[in-house]
Symmetry: C2
Subunit: 367 residues, 2 copies
């Protein structure tokens, strides 16, 4: 692996000092920002995440803030998920689509108030699309990237750690809800959410000045819980079927292809810019879809590009994320498979960087 060059353009976060002190070994770049990818090793980080609790610098999940009388209208224009029943205090996972129904991002929308929303984005400059739409439709809304950086607390001991810092009331936060909690006199949104299947929270840290104080408080409070710095873990997320925008889907894909049809209320999401295109897709169904795949043989190399899925010498899909799973003792993978070969149990071959592998399409991820 090569090194990553420092520059201001690849932004540090309010937690970078802590991440460096914890001995980060590798990064990726996400929304023009550093996102740690390895501390001990991907395998060690994985085991620890499933056993204890980790603090993750996910500041790169930048917020796009919508504020003003047209905020709710604009939010509905962006997504085929029907937002009419959504109350303040809720988080919704929302596919964001363009006029052709192509995925532009798959963020979590946080409804702070009727006229104030945060879109906690995956890796694309979604703010540019949102600003372009608001400008073109002359909407009465302010759009901004506030100084708010998520810090994730993930792992089976996340509740215990969080309770020590924010009080026992955090235990009562329900999945994809958030509450306002006090830290050093600042009121922070704390949601039960996060990019792992191990449970935990995301704290929307509002103001860079309390970033490191909060980081340090969590490590201080969690010493006997074996709290460590961590990051979204490739193996764990593939096992759990957590998709990654840019890896497992791009603007080429509809939400239905990504298996996100259940988040599309295309009939009732009136105003959604991609609605016409998606009504067609919803009716006919996608011709390819995300699937879990198991790749036989020893550990696969890093999936740094699309790997073709083949059957009888013909291309029938592609693998976009893959890793060897120590717990399941096999290679776990996420791919997009044509309908002719997407039934579970279908035997296919995958052209990895290191050569052909036999593989099988699975019913489910490793849950």
């Amino acid at each position: 692996m090569a090194l990553i060059s420092p520059s201001r353009r690849v932004r540090r976060t309010m937690f970078s000092d802590g991440v460096e002190a914890a001995g980060v070994k590798a990064y990726t770049v996400y929304n023009h920002m550093l996102l740690p990818t390895v501390f001990e090793s991907v395998q060690d980080d994985y085991h620890h995440l499933k056993e204890a609790v980790q603090v993750w610098d996910v500041a790169c999940e930048r917020q796009v803030e919508l504020r003003g009388p047209d905020a709710a209208r604009l939010m509905q224009m962006l997504t085929p998920r029907d937002l009419r029943g959504m109350l303040p205090g809720r988080c919704f996972y929302v596919p964001i689509v363009d006029e052709t129904g192509g995925m532009l991002n798959d963020p979590v929308a946080v409804k702070l108030a009727e006229d104030r929303w945060w879109i906690s984005i995956a890796d694309s400059d979604l703010m540019l699309w949102v600003k372009g739409i608001a400008n073109g439709y002359r909407l009465d809304v302010l759009i901004d990237e506030p100084d708010v950086s998520p810090l994730a607390i993930q792992g089976p001991k996340a509740d215990d750690l969080m309770a020590r810092v924010f009080g026992d009331a955090v235990r009562d936060i329900r999945f994809f809800r958030f509450g306002m909690f006090d830290f050093q006199g600042r009121s922070l949104a704390v949601a039960r959410s996060g990019y792992s299947k191990q449970g935990g929270f995301e704290i929307y840290v509002d103001g860079a000045d309390i970033g490191m104080p909060l980081w340090n408080a969590l490590f201080e409070a969690g010493r006997d819980l074996d709290v460590r710095a961590g990051c979204p873990n490739l193996i764990e997320r593939v096992e759990g079927g957590l998709l990654s925008y840019g890896n497992d889907m791009t603007d080429d894909n509809t939400p239905h292809e990504c298996g996100l049809g259940r988040f599309c209320d295309t009939q009732t999401a009136i105003g959604c810019i991609g609605r016409d295109a998606l009504l067609r897709v919803a009716k006919e169904g996608p011709t390819k879809q995300v699937r879990a795949l198991e790749l036989h043989g020893g550990p696969v190399p890093p999936c740094e590009r699309v790997w073709d899925i083949e059957a009888n010498g013909k291309r029938v899909g592609q693998v976009t994320s893959a890793a060897y799973s120590p717990d399941f003792k096999t290679n776990v993978a996420i791919g997009m498979v044509r309908m002719t070969h997407w039934d579970s149990g279908t035997e296919v071959q995958v052209r990895t960087t290191d050569g052909m592998r036999d593989a099988v399409v699975r019913e489910d991820f490793w849950l």
Copy 2:
């Protein structure tokens, strides 16, 4: 420095195999794509660039293609530069601004025909803004990222190398013009342009299948010219005052603050979305502006975050790019300085990562 993790999301380019074979040591990520930053060392690459010729994988300068009857109208909506006199076959450096006059990108616009343009972008997902505007204003235009990847040939021997592969006619291409040249039966746009002050070309390689054949042909033809794989060089670009979007300017800045006022014809660029805001700026002038700065003392550390510029203990600006220049035997830097301190010869202090440095504002970059 930490490592960079491989993933499909951080896209490889059509030249990555060549870059790896050439022994790339470090990357940055630019438009969700790998951009090499170091081969031998930043210093060795710098000396070689000024003496010989290099082939640069700048595929990350992605193209946003506009096609259709409203393409020219849309292009003018994006920029305060007056495009009415621009003929097909020309390249224009164009600031792109939002409705407040904030810089969204500083690309090169390539006019292929009246109804067909490429915007060769710096590091932001400009396509999202362009698509949002086109959608909101219901323009009759197709917007797309074609499979076109620039390959730059830079250095004093660039003309010689290019003539061997494309014929002597390439020598006649004038600055910021392009012509169509044949390679293996494919017609490619070749422009006299590039992100260095050493002269050279950018080839818009249309189709991934000829990426490596062209790469190999250039290395084959240039063996006795000491052709090497290279990349935009930090030292050389700072010496030359070549700004970097995301480093030296962001959407916080107007073109005038970036010293790009000469590319703004705000009076006549009718239709430009940021025109109202920029008319005000053009009239009153900016209150801060990009400047060359010299930082005294030994080599500075990497400028991986904004360094405050201070005078009498007050913040009067920020340095955003800096490097030690072997040729000029001093630290060269780019910063944004308030008008109270932007006159050449003004003594200031810069708070680098390693401590305070005395510095002076210069009249010009090191040309």
